[in-house]
């Protein structure tokens, strides 16, 4: 056998293998397309059946356990449930109850494999949000599969099962950053009910930066309830890690409150530029103009971020625009640049140009426009 024959044989084998693989891919895609089309047809039929049950309770036929076991039925049930509120939900709960759907999905979730079916079951229970599934989901908060733990937490949050908050927080230290982040999102779904337990947890753990405490502090900001304000403001004094202080400052900026102002004033003079810059932004969100003189000083800070955030905060605070115009005449180039950029970003430059065009410009408009064209020190 010559080397040419060997090469030809190899090419032939490769060709046959490629052709077989190609056919397999085409067949798989075709079969999957048919499966999805059939699933969608059944889902539409179930949507109609469930709509009949909701629109005229008692008029449509019973839904069998076999139907309830169909993924297409569960998809239709979830879609209809998301559309409705009020007494119609009770009708849907009756269907779920009679079809034994919760216990069936719980059985699937309890089985050891396949993982796909377990995931499908936990997502169904989480989406349906029926309180009767709470006990099962509580059990699976410690499941060996992270996604199942996360979906269990999401389901419990959707049904506002507040007993789950402490259990989720107890697990927090043991979870990976990915799970911690997903858990934190679910805790936000509990809303105001979660504020007190989350604040208490932060109080205990605020000096353990690696325990996911920054995630929890930020979730308090997402919930946006000022009840957490005093406790967080107090923790600003005792928190040692800069990341924790930054997270607290950001959250205080969102939930505000007069008690936040005093510790924030201290933070804006911190030796750490990250803390100073975050405190400047927090003041602009709280909307307290008494800080304007300190922000004006911040325009000449050694840190670019502090200069930028101070200027942006002044642009948002009452009386701040006047201070930014004044700063264009400052002797320090960094101060002038920060002020001019903030005025441009907040639309003052365009407004000044408009005023110049219609003849109503003031001297400071001309000063800003000419500075933006030639950012050198201006002749006094």
């Amino acid at each position: 056998m010559t080397s040419f024959d060997i090469a030809m044989a190899a090419v032939t084998v490769m060709f046959v293998v490629s052709a077989v693989l190609l056919v397999a891919v085409v067949v798989f895609k075709w079969a999957n397309g048919r499966r999805l089309a059939a699933h969608n047809q059944r889902r539409i039929a179930y949507l109609k059946l469930l709509s009949q049950h909701v629109a005229a309770p008692g008029s449509a036929g019973q839904i069998s356990i076999r139907q309830a076991d169909d993924d297409a039925f569960i998809d239709a049930l979830i879609d209809i449930r998301h559309t409705l509120s009020g007494t119609s939900i009770e009708t849907l709960d009756g269907i779920v109850d009679r079809a034994g759907l919760i216990s069936h999905q719980a059985k699937r979730l309890r089985s050891r494999f396949p993982l796909g079916r377990r995931l499908r079951a936990v997502v169904s229970l989480a989406e349906i949000g029926d309180p009767r599934a709470a006990r099962i989901l509580m059990h699976h908060l410690s499941d060996r599969v992270p996604e199942i733990r996360v979906q269990s937490a999401r389901g419990l949050a959707r049904m506002r099962y507040t007993a789950a908050i402490d259990v989720i927080l107890d697990r927090f230290h043991r979870e990976t950053p990915w799970v911690q982040s997903r858990f934190a999102e679910t805790l936000a779904l509990f809303g105001r009910d979660a504020v007190w337990p989350l604040t208490a947890w932060v109080r205990i753990n605020h000096n353990h930066a690696d325990s996911g405490v920054t995630e929890i502090i930020r979730i308090l900001g997402v919930i946006g309830d000022s009840e957490a304000g005093p406790a967080l403001a107090e923790l600003l004094y005792s928190a040692e890690e800069p990341e924790i202080r930054i997270a607290i400052i950001e959250t205080l900026g969102l939930i505000g409150g007069p008690l936040a102002l005093r510790p924030l004033r201290r933070m804006i003079q911190s030796a750490d530029w990250r803390i100073r810059a975050k405190a400047a932004t927090a003041f602009s969100k709280i909307g307290d103009p008494s800080i304007n003189p300190i922000l004006s000083e911040g325009l000449g800070d050694a840190s670019w971020w502090m200069r930028r955030n101070s200027a942006a905060a002044l642009a948002a605070l009452p009386g701040g625009i006047d201070l930014l115009y004044d700063a264009i005449g400052a002797s320090d180039q960094f101060t002038r640049d920060a002020a001019a950029e903030a005025l441009a970003d907040c639309g003052e430059l365009i407004a000044a140009r408009d005023r110049l065009e219609d003849g109503s410009a003031e001297p400071r408009d001309v000063k800003l426009i000419s500075y933006m064209h030639t950012p050198e020190p201006l002749a006094s």
Partner: protein, 128 residues
């Protein structure tokens, strides 16, 4: 619209416009059981075209649809003289959208998720 007012034997016609299948299936089923004739539009452009034909007694339209927004449809109908009661249905809780819808001519605004019996009552009230 004139025909709808004069022909008392004709079933009242309702236009349902929403791109969410669960919403349209539910409303079509509930409205047909209640004795109405229902036509569905799955996007804003189709809803606008159907509505301007003047063949409907009432429309239930979603704010966020592909093609045209609910408020855009209302604005166009208003400028073209389409005189039909419209109930806006939306998951958007923004005051601006609610006020914008009512200013554009909607007679009612219902938030999603909605209470079906309440929506049906609002439809009945506005048809009578």
């Amino acid at each position: 619209m004139e025909n709808a007012e004069t022909d008392s034997t004709r079933r009242q016609r309702i236009l349902v416009a929403d791109d969410v299948e669960a919403v349209t299936t539910l409303l079509v089923t509930a409205l047909e059981i209640a004795g109405y004739e229902v036509v569905v539009a799955e996007n804003g452009q189709k809803a606008y075209e159907l509505g301007k034909s003047g063949e409907f007694d009432l429309a239930v339209i979603d704010q966020l649809m592909p093609g045209l927004l609910g408020t855009e449809i209302l604005g166009r109908w208003q400028s073209e003289g389409v005189n039909m009661p419209v109930i806006m249905l939306s998951g958007v809780e923004d005051d601006e959208v609610v006020v914008g819808s009512l200013d554009s001519g909607a007679i009612d605004y219902v938030h999603k998720p909605f209470r079906l019996p309440e929506l049906m009552a609002r439809i009945r009230k506005n048809l009578n």
